[in-house]
């Protein structure tokens, strides 16, 4: 049977979740967390459907969200090495590690929700003649008409 891009993403998901399971059994929090950040991107790419194959913006959404989460958690990870919560420097009233979490990682979840709204037409567009243009295909495969 010919493998599709969805099959490959699901296989990647299987590998990532297996690594996370090993992380849980060895109580290695980074081995659970970092593969999961890739899982988030995989889920976004699965969610947008086959349009990801010819819409670079939607492909970029999945990859970009994972990269930003990676950057934020690595920043947090580095900040946690010398100091978990005893810093005398406060950022908006909280310690720097909590500030990274509350003021960057937390809002980014809402940014992803905002990106969903922003890219809604592309995401909702069907895999027809309008594919890749962000325009709405009306479901009539033979008409070739695209609803803007």
């Amino acid at each position: 049977m010919r493998s599709t891009s969805t099959d490959r993403l699901v296989t990647l998901l299987l590998v990532l979740v297996s690594i996370m399971l090993v992380g849980m059994l060895t109580t290695s929090w980074r081995v659970v967390l970092y593969p999961y950040l890739v899982v988030i991107g995989v889920m976004i790419l699965l969610g947008v459907g086959k349009r990801r194959d010819h819409d670079k913006v939607l492909m970029g959404l999945g990859v970009g969200v994972t990269l930003v989460y990676f950057a934020l958690y690595i920043w947090l990870d580095i900040a946690m090495i010398p100091d978990l919560g005893s810093s005398t420097d406060l950022v908006a009233g909280v310690v720097p590690t909590t500030a990274i979490y509350f003021f960057a990682i937390w809002p980014f979840g809402l940014v992803v929700a905002g990106l969903y709204a922003l890219l809604h037409r592309r995401i909702m567009s069907d895999d027809g003649p309008g594919a890749g243009t962000g325009q709405q295909y009306d479901g009539t495969a033979d008409s070739g008409e695209v609803n803007a």
Partner: protein
């Protein structure tokens, strides 16, 4: 309790009953009862999703967890959930609306049978939902009993009966239509209550910086984002509550109620923002109580779960306490109403249809089922607490582990098979039950800090994908309906119908 608080709580209950009365007049069919006649717009649906997801457990349990262990619960559970809304809308929003266009889709069981052409898959999903519903309802009964008793000065039993009676009155009559519109009212109430509570909590702690300094002096980890939680717990929670959120049936079925596709657009932002605002209440009150306790200014409590209501009655004006306690009642009732209709749907539709039995006069029997669930869950909670303790293990984690692979991954990947759906759901139910009940009897095979629901979700994902790969391509596993294939691929909802209609069963 103070008269002002009693008046506000009574007014809240009266408004909820009035909405229920209005919805009862609108509910004419089982389609109205279960999916509100597919009439919802984005605002009502998105607020209903966040208010039903934000339960009494999140508010009361979250507050006491912050008080006892710092911000770990907030960072792991409550900050992951808004991301979960975005993932949910991306994964299933368009697809659930698509399958809703393909026939009479009221329940997760209906979707499972359509997706896998398997009554057995429907039945297993129905059983998972019923077990979870009884567990969730049992905990809501207990929470309701404590809150109503505290407000009106009655016993916990009487409080639970009063609260469940109000809930029953509006759900039996108005079904999910009453549920979502009371959720809308309750959600808005929770938002206002959360902002007010956060302001007072920060103020009584002496400001954010002062709260942080006091926590640092007690234990620096209390001021850190992960608090006293084991580090491995945090990513487990993030995984379970962001990804597992897509498989909560009280959120999932609400996509079947939407009027049109455009309604999806702002949903995750509205739900996520609403949930984030209610998280402020948990952070604020939890850390304020922690600081006040360190300073010796907070009364000694019998149970950490009392910290939420004790703080409000002792440290805020009665009007604020009344508003926030009404908001807490709202959190409990909005979750309870969703689960009552979900449970009735499984009992009346999913489980009988798994055995090819169709219930006639579905609306009448659904109302009877809601009443029976109310009586059962109240009786279990008040008189057979061991049953609630056992059923209470069927909650978020069970739904995530048993429903996510089949109903969420299966809706974005046409390679999933019915064997995989059934086996992953059964593994999810059994593994959760064994590990959760085992934990109560010191059977803890998992390393310390690993969250059972996260572990079982990982296992069931592996089971689903593995079994699908092993059984894929066998006769009967292909998707016979091109419309369904198109929906799963994220394509047209209105692809041409097949020449020979394919029956769901």
């Amino acid at each position: 309790m103070n008269t002002t608080i009693i008046i506000i709580a009574a007014a809240y209950l009266a408004v909820v009953l009035l909405i229920g009365l209005w919805a009862t007049g609108k509910t004419k069919t089982s389609g109205d009862f279960y999916i509100a006649g597919r009439s919802l717009g984005v605002f009502v649906m998105a607020i209903a999703v966040f208010s039903s997801i934000q339960s009494g457990f999140g508010v009361v349990g979250g507050t006491s967890t912050v008080t006892a262990g710092g911000y770990g619960f907030v960072s792991g559970v409550m900050i992951a959930t808004p991301l979960g809304f975005a993932i949910t809308w991306l994964l299933i929003g368009k697809r659930m609306m698509g399958v809703g266009d393909m026939g009479e889709m009221y329940t997760v069981g209906d979707v499972a049978e359509l997706r896998y052409r398997s009554p057995a898959a429907r039945g297993v999903m129905g059983v998972a939902v019923v077990l979870g519903v009884l567990g969730y309802l049992g905990t809501q009964v207990l929470a309701m009993g404590i809150v109503v008793a505290a407000i009106f000065g009655v016993s916990t039993t009487t409080g639970a009966i009063i609260g469940m009676s109000v809930l029953g009155l509006y759900v039996i009559g108005g079904g999910i239509l009453a549920g979502v519109y009371t959720d809308l009212f309750q959600g808005v109430l929770m938002l206002v209550a959360s902002l007010v509570a956060f302001y007072y909590a920060v103020d009584s702690g002496g400001g954010i910086s002062e709260i942080t300094r006091t926590l640092q002096q007690e234990n620096p980890e209390l001021a850190s984002p992960f608090g006293l939680s084991p580090l491995v717990t945090i990513p487990c929670w993030i995984f379970l509550f962001s990804l597992g959120g897509s498989a909560q049936p009280h959120g999932l079925t609400k996509f079947l109620m939407l009027r049109d596709r455009r309604s999806l657009r702002w949903g995750p932002l509205i739900s996520g923002t609403g949930y984030a605002i209610t998280t402020l209440m948990v952070i604020g009150i939890g850390s304020a109580v922690s600081v006040l306790t360190i300073r010796g200014e907070f009364p000694v409590l019998d149970s950490p779960d009392e910290s939420f209501t004790s703080y409000l009655t002792e440290f805020t004006p009665p009007i604020v306490a009344g508003l926030v306690i009404a908001g807490l009642l709202a959190a409990i009732m909005s979750t309870g109403s969703s689960f009552l209709t979900l449970g009735a749907a499984s009992v009346i539709r999913d489980i009988p249809r798994a055995f090819n039995v169709r219930i006639e006069r579905e609306l009448l029997w659904s109302r009877i089922a809601v009443f029976a669930l109310l009586v059962l869950s109240t009786a279990f909670a008040l008189y057979i607490d061991n049953v609630v303790a056992l059923l209470g293990t069927f909650g978020w984690g069970t739904f995530a582990a048993s429903l996510f692979p089949a109903l969420v991954l299966g809706m974005v990947w046409n390679g999933g098979t019915k064997q995989a759906a059934i086996s992953s759901a059964i593994v999810g139910i059994v593994l959760n039950f064994v590990l959760e009940v085992g934990a109560k009897y010191d059977f803890t095979p998992l390393p310390d800090g690993v969250v059972i629901g996260a572990f079982t979700l990982a296992v069931t994902l592996i089971v689903y994908i593995g079994v699908s790969m092993a059984t894929r391509g066998r006769s009967g596993d292909s998707l016979a309906d091109p419309r369904l294939e198109s929906v799963i691929d994220g394509g047209a909802l209105e692809a041409p119908a097949p020449a020979t209609p394919v029956r769901a069963s």
